[in-house]
């Protein structure tokens, strides 16, 4: 366990700060608008589950939050800064504060696992003495320290996702964006990934935006917590909470927020569309 990663930037973000804010965001391509006035916000240390069918714009929302796309209209603010009107040069600097876990990992296939994880640190000009221990630390966190010298093509799909999470963590960003991190994985591997996200949330308090079409992933994040002392994942009783709910659901439909609420609200909803996700 990488318990020494105590200087995570999230520690400096108070809970009442808005980490991510979308206001009337529209984005379209040739066939028309995909996002049609998307508005929501995520507080610091909160985990937002973006739920929706394929093609509803979940990945686009994540890429907008990372500044990888620019909206046609509306405002996107992250960590108190409006990023939707920034130039590519200004955004490059900003993106170092955001970790992005791509759906298929998007690891650099010509670099080893260690080099992939170290990439960001090397770009920042960190010394070799600084890079090596940090890479080992985050790879230990995802329990893949033995894969340091392997190429991504030598890893399984689940291992690639875990390396991708390690790569996103290496600079200790206060925000991590997950694009369908469990898509296409078997249930056991998917559970491993979710446990990893739980650990990241409960140990380091990162703000997370997770796009998924699997409701069970969201419920797992909402109903379980990682106990650093016992190093076990435990079911969380509502009475145990010392802070406001840290997991919320956003359901995207037709380019807008169709539902926004707590895990309990979505679980007890009688809305026919939402019920489809519960089956």
């Amino acid at each position: 366990m990488a318990s020494s990663l105590t200087s995570f930037s999230a520690a400096s973000s108070p809970n009442d700060e808005t980490a991510i804010d979308f206001s009337g965001v529209r984005l379209g391509f040739g066939d028309g608008d995909v996002l049609r006035g998307l508005s929501f916000s995520a507080q610091s240390r909160e985990t937002l589950i973006l739920l929706g069918e394929t093609g509803t714009g979940k990945t686009l929302a994540l890429k907008l939050a990372a500044g990888l796309l620019r909206p046609d209209a509306g405002v996107v603010s992250v960590l108190g800064r409006v990023i939707s009107d920034k130039s590519e040069g200004e955004l490059l600097e900003f993106r170092r504060q955001v970790g992005f876990v791509f759906q298929e990992g998007a690891l650099f296939d010509s670099l080893t696992v260690g080099e992939n994880v170290a990439y960001r640190l090397e770009e920042e000009g960190a010394s070799e003495d600084e890079i090596r221990p940090r890479v080992e630390e985050v790879l230990r966190f995802v329990e893949l320290e033995h894969t340091m010298d392997l190429l991504p093509s030598e890893l399984s799909g689940g291992m690639r996702r875990r390396v991708s999470i390690a790569r996103a963590l290496v600079t200790r960003p206060p925000i991590v964006l997950y694009d369908s991190p469990t898509a296409g994985l078997d249930p056991i591997t998917a559970q491993t990934i979710i446990t990893l996200i739980l650990r990241l949330r409960d140990i380091y308090g990162v703000t997370a935006l997770m796009a998924t079409h699997r409701l069970q992933d969201g419920f797992a994040l909402a109903n379980f917590r990682f106990d650093p002392k016992s190093r076990r994942v435990q079911r969380e009783a509502a009475a145990d909470r010392v802070s406001p709910p840290v997991t919320r659901f956003l359901v995207l439909r037709d380019g807008r927020i169709y539902f926004e609420g707590s895990p309990q609200e979505i679980a007890t909803s009688t809305d026919p569309y939402l019920r489809k996700f519960l089956i």
């Binding site: 170092r96 791509f102 650099f108 296939d109």
Partner: protein
């Protein structure tokens, strides 16, 4: 509701109108102008990136190795035999007039001014422009380019500029080697086929050359290096349609860069001859 079970309840009246020929032509023209603009933008930034940090000398060296050392065998082989075949073709004509000694002059001028840079440019375009397009295209479709951006790296600086710089340095060098080897090939063919002494061939080949000839060949090779690398990068970073698109981009890179090299050669020759007359 219609009476017949398979009859549509209401006839469709809002079918989209087919675009007119003029609209299709205007749209195609706009797309072409947009592509030229994007290519010009990429080319401009590939050079201006050198003026600001970060620079990637290690990546540039790797590309120099790939483009320069990797292309050496085909350049050496083709250069030698092009020089030899030039002698065989021209020597037969000079023999009719008893001016075999002029063979060295004509082979030297043709290689330095025209064949060396053009053949080298076309060979390196076939080998490297396609390689650049397929490599960058694969990175694009597997989201590695987005991952790079998400980690605060400017893909233009990291991926394009090292390749363009390497081509700008290596193609003139390869051209020089190609011309030299071509002259050796011509000399061997002259000795074996025309019974011309090696010394006569070599002396005349060197004596005929003026600075303007060398400058013409050098400037062409620099331009050709720029064309083949920027076209490869442009095609690779504009892949549409997954792995099939990568294949298309690879083919397009070779075709477009080869045609551009030949077209540019015509204009550069005219400019060089004009300047040689004036200066």
């Amino acid at each position: 509701m219609s009476d017949a079970p398979l009859q549509a309840a209401q006839p469709q009246t809002n079918a989209p109108e087919a675009p007119s020929v003029v609209e299709v032509l205007i749209d195609a023209s706009k797309q072409s102008v947009l592509k030229v603009q994007e290519y010009a933008n990429l080319s401009y930034h590939s050079l201006t990136n050198l003026l600001s940090r970060p620079r990637y000398p290690v990546d540039t060296l790797e590309q120099m190795d790939d483009i320069g050392v990797g292309s050496l065998p085909i350049v050496l082989l083709s250069g030698f035999f092009i020089g030899a075949v030039m002698v065989l073709q021209t020597g037969a004509q000079f023999q009719r007039f008893g001016q075999v000694s002029l063979t060295g002059d004509i082979v030297s001028l043709a290689l330095v001014r025209e064949l060396g840079p053009t053949i080298t440019g076309l060979l390196v375009a076939g080998r490297c422009s396609s390689g650049i397009a397929s490599e960058l295209g694969s990175m694009l479709v597997t989201e590695q380019v987005d991952a790079m951006r998400a980690m605060g790296t400017n893909p233009s600086k990291k991926l394009i500029t090292p390749r363009v710089s390497a081509a700008l340095l290596m193609v003139p060098l390869l051209t020089t080697i190609s011309v030299f080897v071509g002259l050796i090939g011509g000399m061997v063919a002259s000795v074996l086929s025309l019974r011309l002494s090696a010394t006569t061939f070599w002396q005349r080949a060197i004596a005929i050359l003026q600075l303007s000839d060398l400058m013409q060949g050098f400037s062409k090779s620099v331009v050709f290096g720029f064309i083949l690398s920027t076209v490869g990068c442009y095609q690779g970073l504009n892949v549409r349609g997954g792995t099939q698109g990568v294949g298309r981009a690879t083919t397009q890179a070779v075709v477009v860069s080869s045609v551009m090299i030949i077209v540019a050669d015509t204009f550069l020759t005219k400019i060089a001859l004009y300047l040689a007359d004036k200066l």
